[in-house]
Symmetry: C2
DNA sequence: TTGCTTTGTGCCCCCGTGAAACAAAACAGG
DNA sequence: CCTGTTTTGTTTCACGGGGGCACAAAGCAA
């Protein structure tokens, strides 16, 4: 009997790593690509030519004003006219759609506001429709789609487990709904085209590839948007999602045993001690309903941190608790870099020294070790991260772009 | 100019995965190996023949009494006469040396007792000497060496950071000393031959490869020996060591805000709330100096758990706190299996239902999810784990065994 | 101009692996 | 006992990714 393999051929095996190097900006020239891949110049040349032929990168042989000795190397870059992926994000106040090319370049973006309804199909239908308009306007080819949601997403089911500040029911099958919307809009062909994940996780992935997390081997991200706190870990360039996608749900670390009660049944959780509402209440402000809690907290810091001692004390309180939570995570995960987002990013800006001091004192082995704690650096990093996830199949095997 | 690669040739690339499959018992026959590797029978045959030629595995074509239809497949097994690695373990009461073949088979072992001195060269010299005697007696070839120590080992320095119940100074360069002892004994050739790591981490690795952790995608291990608590995470078959080898130092998770003070400055840490001393004191026993605290705690459970309500209450107390700590880890790491070692293993045996109940209630998303919490299953799992680490280069590239 | 250095390219070969046809070793049923 | 079926091992051929090498190209330095 004849014998067929179960796994498909992967084509030129250096193709994926090469594209990833150009994608993340680590291979600006063909010579660097040769060194990074650890192959000969001949192979690197063939690989670069093939990626160029696929329309993914450009190989520019114009003089690069190198200034160095020897023959100047050809410059490599992401093809700005190449295919894009559709990135979508759902948040408390609405949604946002974008087209994102390789290299994390946001080609076009379209915000949408308005209340999110209980049925995920409503907002996902709207955001996919917005994405379709962007695609039609741009005339670009779409090779994937990714969705960021403010909830843990269970794998392999693709369900939103705790969409606490959306009216969705826990367990909503967001990935399936997203895929159906894509298929209805005529965007995707394959049934497994369209991925969904937690927004903080995706933001961490984006920061690692294109932002402040570049080069980190173990990147820990913690961020708070409107309510609750999210965490993410990127290990060796890949999201650490745990066995079912629920890793780094850090909101219920205890950071104050006598703190405020939390809906989880415990008290003093990171969730309720360091989110925007916590800042407003610690400063003695009554939150208004007009704008989001995050905006209220940010403007409070901006306008009154230096003027009002009560606001400063409130920030100190949050920073102390945040640092305690981070210290616990550091002792468990041992990251080499920490990135803070949302309100936590601003707390770092205003009160960074205090945060680093407490963190250093409470992390067991952080004494001799210098810790990099940085603010996140990308606009819409969740959106870019959703695009990263959508690009991943192409990064793994660039030949897929020609299959459709 | 001629061009040489920076990375060496890796030879037949399916060789490493194939050896790992036989090593972990997942490829009992050549037919299974073919399926697991996802290659053709021709390739699997060539690979098996090559591994046999290297003296690493045996290919037995004798009838296997299969009972199934079709031509019986050749049985694959680790070659019991093949090379070994030297595994060493240092603990509070002394040391242990062993020769370990592929498949985690302990070929020979030699315990050594006596107080450990302040200079790591003393006990490491003794354990290496014991290993050398075992090697001479057995006449086997040694292709690597691994060391397990009761302390976090920082990478890439290879220093013991917190050897709390050894008289070593924190920061002792155990890996360097180990390598020097190996070189002095004429065992190792290469300068980077000889690895060292934390004993609980190594135990977890061993359990994943050969014990109760087989097949787990995200394996969390927690264990307590004499004093303090250690943790480890194995992700996709590899130890998650963090950026500097300090991940999973879980001893200072807070599990009782009003608990006993800990030397770290906090109170109610997992370390001081769930170790053997905590059990003895919770049961109102005064620990004696004659045998190790672990033995005293184990015998207390064995002899009086069913007889003395105070002992039962003490066990309950420890189990509650252990479950709280595990729940925190579950929310951060999202493992699919948990293995407990040392005293915690016995607590699981005596009080497993209570532990699972508390763990389920406190782990946020554990409600619908059935959690596997198992006792560790290997004797000397730290020793076997040290051997695993030493075998790793050969598992990555089996051709190395012929280079020496 | 003549080196020197670094990079790109063409050519040849190695070798790992798939594809296919065939052989071998069991069982099942007459 | 013989034959068909099933599963596995073996042989042969061919493809293709990538190394090795020689040479050409493109800059700087003297």
């Amino acid at each position: 009997m004849t014998q067929t393999r179960t796994r498909p051929d992967r084509g030129r095996s250096a193709l994926g790593p090469a594209l990833e190097l150009v994608h993340t900006g680590r291979a600006p020239t063909r010579a660097v690509l040769t060194a990074e891949l650890g192959v000969t110049r001949a192979t690197a040349g063939a690989v670069a030519a093939e990626l160029q032929g696929l329309g993914l990168i450009t190989v520019d042989s114009s003089p690069s004003t190198a200034g160095a000795q020897g023959r100047p190397s050809h410059r490599l870059a992401v093809d700005p006219t190449g295919p894009v992926v559709l990135a979508a994000q759902v948040h408390t106040d609405g949604f946002r759609a974008a087209l994102v090319g390789l290299g994390g370049r946001v080609v076009a973006t379209a915000p949408g506001c308005g209340p999110v309804e209980a049925d995920p199909a409503q907002v996902l239908g709207e955001v996919v429709a917005a994405g379709r308009r962007l695609l039609e306007e741009s005339g670009r080819r779409c090779v994937g789609a990714g969705l960021a949601v403010p909830s843990a997403v269970a794998e392999p089911e693709g369900t939103a487990l705790n969409p606490l500040h959306l009216p969705w029911a826990p367990g909503a099958p967001v990935r399936e709904v997203f895929r159906r919307c894509l298929a209805d809009a005529g965007i995707s062909a394959g049934a497994d085209d369209g991925v969904a994940a937690n927004d903080v996780n995706l933001g961490a992935l984006a920061e690692h590839r294109h932002g402040a997390g570049r080069g980190a081997r173990q990147l820990l991200c913690v961020a708070t948007g409107h309510r609750g706190v999210g965490g993410a870990l990127v290990v060796d360039g890949r999201l650490h999602s745990g066995s079912s996608g629920l890793a780094l749900e850090v909101g219920h670390l205890t950071v104050d045993p006598e703190g405020r009660p939390c809906h989880c049944g415990s008290r003093g959780c990171l969730d309720v001690e360091t989110d925007p509402l916590a800042l407003l209440e610690a400063a003695g402000r009554r939150p208004g309903p007009e704008v989001s809690l995050l905006r209220q907290a940010l403007s409070l810091l901006r306008t009154e941190y230096h003027a009002d001692p009560a606001v400063r004390a409130a920030a100190h309180r949050l920073v102390d608790r945040l640092a305690l939570g981070l210290a616990g995570l550091v002792n468990i995960l041992d990251p080499d870099r920490i990135i803070l987002g949302g309100l936590h990013r601003e707390l770092l800006r205003y009160d960074g020294d205090r945060l680093r001091e407490v963190l250093d004192a409470r992390s067991l082995w952080g004494r001799g070790k210098t810790f990099a704690v940085l603010p996140c650096s990308l606009d819409h990093n969740s959106l870019v991260g959703a695009a990263e996830l959508a690009w991943q199949p192409v990064l793994d095997d660039p030949l897929r772009v020609q299959e459709a």
